[in-house]
Subunit: 341 residues, 2 copies
């Protein structure tokens, strides 16, 4: 049964993240979350000829690893919800090719993984699917080339820029009596406050994150103290500060429970990543592994995961258009654990 509270969907069957996997690149393997990854490659080409193929290989390996961990195979999976940042979501299409799972291609920039989780919960929650895979990926080199400059230019990066994660995350969602589950979801609306600086995506996404979090709290009649963690992905340092400010002005103080995947993936001081990490793969990797495990281990009782996306294209930026932001929320918690309610 799926119930609506305002626009928040609650899943009474509480679909479970049966398994999760993350595959990363070199910088990710040198960062503080290295141990969360199932594998980090030394060479960002991931044994491929192009960066686009490399990103696709990351996503495919994440999908296959998630399947393997759940001791299942692609034939048993009813749906795949996946997406990435590349033009025409080519990394996801290529990754899905050999799996032969019915595929819903998603585009939500860095909000893609949260959107996929929400859709998978709807499909599993209404018995349209027994098993659904959710995946998202990004790659620093393919993203730089597409959105900014070829790496060979060695261009200077602004302090507000975020480093696109070379990473993919995937989870298998299905019914189970226990595990980290999806309690509720809220699909967001576009917010656009007129930001045109593609080197400051945090600023473009923060208003959308604020809007979605405010709506979720209001519609579920909860407040930040009801959550162990409100996890955004990926606002980075600049966007995280803005998010807390915007919500504080509305009388909502999330500072005590707020974390951001973009602030966690790299060591900002040692790794020269400016305002932190970004890219679909960042939150996909950390939610699939780190946060899923923290919930399963009882370290966190619940996590309101809010994926945030900056819906610009290289062309729209060149044309001087503003950058619309969107954010989708998914409430994760432990199912049937005495520690949780």
């Amino acid at each position: 049964m799926i119930q609506k509270q305002g626009r928040v969907l609650s899943f009474s069957s509480r679909p479970v993240l049966l398994s999760g996997a993350a595959i990363g690149g070199k910088a990710e393997g040198q960062g503080p979350c290295a141990n969360e990854f199932d594998r980090c490659y030394e060479d960002d080409y991931i044994c491929c000829k192009t960066w686009e193929q490399a990103e696709s290989a990351l996503q495919k390996e994440a999908l296959l690893t998630a399947l393997k961990k759940a001791d299942t195979n692609a034939q048993e999976v009813d749906y795949l919800f996946s997406g990435d940042l590349l033009d025409q979501c080519i990394a996801s299409a290529t990754a899905a090719k050999d799996l032969q799972i019915p595929m819903t291609g998603l585009y939500g920039a860095c909000s893609t993984f949260a959107l996929g989780l929400a859709l998978s919960a709807v499909f599993v929650g209404c018995n349209a699917a027994k098993y659904a895979l959710v995946a998202a990926s990004s790659h620093f080199c393919s993203a730089e080339k597409q959105f900014r400059f070829p790496l060979e230019y060695g261009n200077q990066r602004q302090p507000t820029t975020q480093r696109t994660a070379t990473a993919a995350g995937a989870v298998l969602v299905g019914n189970s009596k226990t595990g980290c589950c999806i309690d509720a979801a809220l699909i967001g609306t576009i917010q656009d406050l007129g930001i045109t600086d593609a080197a400051n995506m945090g600023a473009a996404m923060a208003p959308a994150a604020a809007d979605t979090i405010e709506k979720f709290l209001t519609q579920t009649q909860t407040s930040p103290v009801d959550y162990d963690c409100i996890l955004t992905g990926d606002l980075g340092a600049v966007g995280s500060r803005l998010l807390c400010q915007i919500l504080f002005q509305k009388g909502i103080d999330i500072s005590a429970v707020h974390e951001d995947c973009g602030n966690l993936l790299f060591d900002a001081k040692k790794q020269d990543v400016h305002a932190g990490a970004s890219g679909c793969g960042c939150s996909a990797a950390l939610v699939s592994t780190l946060f899923r495990r923290r919930i399963e281990n009882g370290l966190l009782q619940n996590v309101l995961f809010v994926g945030t996306g900056a819906l610009m294209s290289p062309l729209s930026v060149q044309q001087g258009e503003t950058i619309p932001g969107i954010a989708h929320a998914v409430l994760l918690s432990m199912k049937n654990n005495k520690l949780t309610k």
Copy 2:
């Protein structure tokens, strides 16, 4: 209730296309389907400064027109499922900005509208949504510039090429006792037979269409004679021929009931469109208007609409990658009409 027959989802509540709208460009207004459009613009800039803005304007007008026809407004709509061909689906993001409807961005190339219909039927069918909007758009000029050459180059087009429709279609899906409804849906898997010629998308998509149609017929234990129309969108002349051949070799003869949106939108002889029309907006426009009306008027009892997408990017083509195809099927029929079963 949503039931599964193999991987075909059946919607016992039979969500209805409450209204539909289509907005087109100049060539569309000169074609045989001109009267189906709510409006066709003489100037393909659609009163905008860029072709990308123009495409977005088309989609927004289609959405607003569909809402108006159903005598409802954006605040009442729970979800918007939309997508387009442009990098990062920018036309859809921009079109949705002012509407403030929770948005799921889709990427399925020309299969996007069928995918959106399937998702809307799941959401409405399981009561996650009361109303859902589905939209897709494409624009000849923005697509040529992005996928092929700037129009100013005046490049020669190959006989197998299809002309991207300058069009948008939108439908409002919800519960109603009567109307053109969504009975069933099948989300497809990627098929890739190794086509690398971006000027022959029909060939890249035909195997996916054949696979989805064969699965739908097998899993529902039906045959082509059970359908008044098996409607693909958009294979064009080349892809349509290939589809019929592939299925004929498998012992399935759809030739008597097959139609393709790409063969209907333009007059191939008079309008110099080579192998026909393509683009998300083509099938979105024709299903939203022409085919919805034909079902409502009893001219067609049922239509198996199969949206077909070529999942290439300009870069993947330049890199010599093959073009994965995907096709999603949606069964449309009349609800509570004595003419239908």
